[in-house]
């Protein structure tokens, strides 16, 4: 790997991501109500809760797509709440979407979009095909190919995304986010709609990422098996309010959580 394309952010420990008292309102509906949690550097933090609990809204706040009414999000010493999405991306926060959002073109095109914040070639240099711009493109393409291999997309690198299976397209999103060389990776239901084999594979990739790259992961997922396996810490949301917080084992026994998932007549069954 060439030095020019490796980012120093991958070699240092990621900064702490702290969410403090974030409240989001949509015309009277309080989507998030005083949510606070801290993602320790290099940990996997799961955000769970029933549908409509505000998990995706929380991601939108973290990635700058949604501005909270009050509260702050800080990454290391930087406040994210006032920044535009592309600035947050440039700080090394990458995300995937719940419903796949890929762009037209090949897997390579999508992954190279992930390199956008790490590359410089502008309109003039690209139009004139200046040597610097071409070299940059070549180098970053090599890294994108590497990441495609890492996520199991190596064979599909030049395939149009539209031709790929559902599971592969979800992996394209993951690979694209990884192409940002993120310090914090936000995964919104990375295995939703996948079959058992695909789930296992994605879980492996995520676990591997954390081990190899040491990045922090915030995970929204309904698959409790996956959450229990991967997460170091879990925050449970219900109707926008945080109702429980702690290690996976503690959370799964929390009566509030059981009530939120199973209704008031919960008899202590496993929430999963």
């Amino acid at each position: 790997m060439n030095d020019r394309t490796t980012n120093d952010r991958t070699t240092t420990a990621p900064p702490e991501l702290a969410v403090r008292d974030v409240t989001v309102r949509f015309a009277g509906l309080t989507a998030l109500d005083g949510v606070s949690f801290t993602v320790a550097p290099g940990s996997v933090h799961a955000l769970i809760g029933p549908n409509g609990a505000g998990k995706s809204t929380c991601f939108n706040v973290l990635s700058g797509l949604c501005r909270p009414a009050s509260g702050t999000v800080t990454l290391g010493g930087t406040e994210l709440t006032r920044l535009a999405p592309h600035r947050i991306a440039a700080l090394g926060v990458a995300r995937t979407f719940q419903n796949i959002v890929t762009t037209q073109g090949t897997v390579a095109d999508n992954l190279m979009l992930g390199r956008h914040a790490l590359t410089r070639a502008g309109f003039t240099a690209s139009a004139l095909r200046l040597p610097g711009a071409r070299r940059e493109q070549r180098e970053h393409l090599a890294r994108a190919r590497e990441i495609a291999g890492l996520t199991g997309l190596g064979a599909h690198f030049d395939t149009p995304v539209g031709l790929l299976s559902y599971g592969d397209r979800k992996r394209v999103e993951l690979a694209r986010a990884l192409c940002l060389e993120p310090r914090v990776l936000l995964l919104d239901e990375p295995v939703a709609g996948m079959n058992a084999a695909e789930r296992a594979r994605t879980a492996e990739v995520v676990a591997g990422l954390r081990a190899e790259l040491g990045l922090s992961v915030v995970l929204v997922e309904h698959d409790m098996g996956l959450v229990m396996r991967l997460a170091d810490e879990v925050t449970v949301l219900d109707f926008g309010r945080p109702i429980a917080h702690g290690a996976p084992d503690e959370v799964r026994r929390d009566p509030e959580v059981l009530r939120a998932y199973l209704g008031t007549d919960a008899t202590g069954e496993d929430a999963a």
Binding site: L65, L113, H116, S126, A127, G162
Partner: protein
């Protein structure tokens, strides 16, 4: 593997060379009428490529393309002419292009914020504003009657019928022959730069903006900046097209740069296939050449009256408009990716035939649709 890539590269280079040579031949064989069709087509292609970048790639509709063509055409005329600074024409050409870019940049507070079809409405204002200015600012634009365009001269070489007299291979080189090569050069520049843009970082960012603004933003694309930049780049291509048009027409008049011209350019990129340089070129040739050809051959065409003859009959220009209106409808219904898409699918089919000669498909059995057709990316409206 690498051998195959080199082979492909050399084949591509050979194709490119062949096309270049073929494009250099017409001045030696065709008369001024055909050369003028070619010239107007080349100018239109340059403008259409610019609009394709904006509408096809970035997904931003513009009805203001005529305005930027006018800025290029009048900009050159004013910069190089009298009244005006009377700059050397060689300097006036790039300055006129920059002027069009600047005009696009001045519009960027709007172009950066307004999205898709709403930008189309906003740019509509530019056309009317531009037309009004062209009519009233007589000292610069010459008013209703327009201005004559100073011919381009490069060093001692002038792009006119004489000065110096020039005969190449026994063919006297008049203005059309000379301008043909100028047009080719500018057209080549357009292809080179536009394809470079499309296949690199800014091009991918623009396509991402079109497909999903949120995904693009989250991946680090500065949405407003890229929208404005796409608008500026598209304006600059329009400006270049305007300069070439002015040189080919030898006179600029305000009425040419109306809303109809903007719509013509939209028709070009729709017929050709949104978002591709080759498609925009094909569409430009189609939309430009058709009315000229129909005017020329009006007396031989059924249902079409010669220009200025019997009332009540359809004039060739109108007939051409009906025809390309019909072409747009057909394209939208049956080939939404335009001429470019049709060509690509035909090529894929050919290639598949060629690569599998042993299992040549039985003509009686309909061959399955090529993968490219099934894989056609999702449609989008500009």
């Amino acid at each position: 593997m690498s051998d195959r890539i080199t082979a492909l590269l050399t084949r591509r280079r050979a194709t490119l060379l062949t096309v270049a040579v073929l494009l250099c031949l017409p001045p030696f064989y065709l008369d001024a009428f055909w050369l003028r069709i070619g010239l107007f087509s080349m100018a239109a292609a340059i403008g259409a490529v610019g609009l394709a970048l904006l509408s096809g790639t970035a997904g931003q509709l513009s009805l203001g393309h005529a305005f930027f063509l006018a800025v290029g055409a009048y900009g050159y005329t004013w910069l190089a002419g009298d009244p005006g600074p009377g700059l050397p024409t060689v300097v006036a050409v790039p300055l006129a292009v920059l002027m069009a870019g600047l005009a696009g940049g001045l519009f960027s507070p709007v172009a950066g914020r307004v999205k898709g079809i709403y930008l189309g409405i906003a740019t509509l204002a530019l056309v009317f504003l531009g037309h009004h200015v062209l009519l009233t600012a007589e000292s610069v634009t010459g008013g209703f009657n327009g201005r004559s365009v100073p011919p381009l001269s490069l060093g001692g070489f002038t792009f006119t019928a004489s000065d110096p007299e020039l005969t190449v291979l026994g063919v006297p080189f008049g203005a059309e022959e000379r301008l043909w090569f100028l047009g080719l050069a500018l057209f080549a520049l357009t292809w080179f730069t536009a394809r470079g843009l499309l296949r690199s970082r800014p091009g991918r960012a623009l396509a991402a903006l079109r497909d999903s603004e949120t995904a693009a933003a989250v991946m680090g694309v500065d949405v407003a900046r890229h929208r404005s930049a796409a608008f500026v780049v598209s304006s600059m291509y329009a400006g270049l097209a305007g300069v070439l048009l002015a040189l080919a027409f030898r006179r600029v008049v305000p009425d040419y740069f109306g809303l109809v011209l903007s719509v013509d350019y939209l028709a070009m990129i729709v017929v050709g296939g949104l978002g591709s340089v080759a498609g925009a070129t094909a569409g430009a040739v189609f939309v430009t050449a058709l009315p000229l050809l129909m005017t020329r051959y009006a007396d031989q065409l059924p249902l079409v009256a010669a220009p200025g003859s019997a009332e009540g009959a359809v004039g060739p220009t109108e007939a051409a408009r009906y025809l390309y209106g019909a072409a747009i409808v057909l394209v939208l219904l049956y080939a939404p990716d335009g001429l470019h898409g049709l060509a690509r699918r035909a090529r894929d089919r050919l290639r598949r035939r060629r690569t599998t000669p042993t299992s040549a498909p039985d003509p009686a059995v309909p061959s399955p649709p090529p993968p490219a057709a099934a894989a056609r990316p999702k449609e989008h409206t500009p």
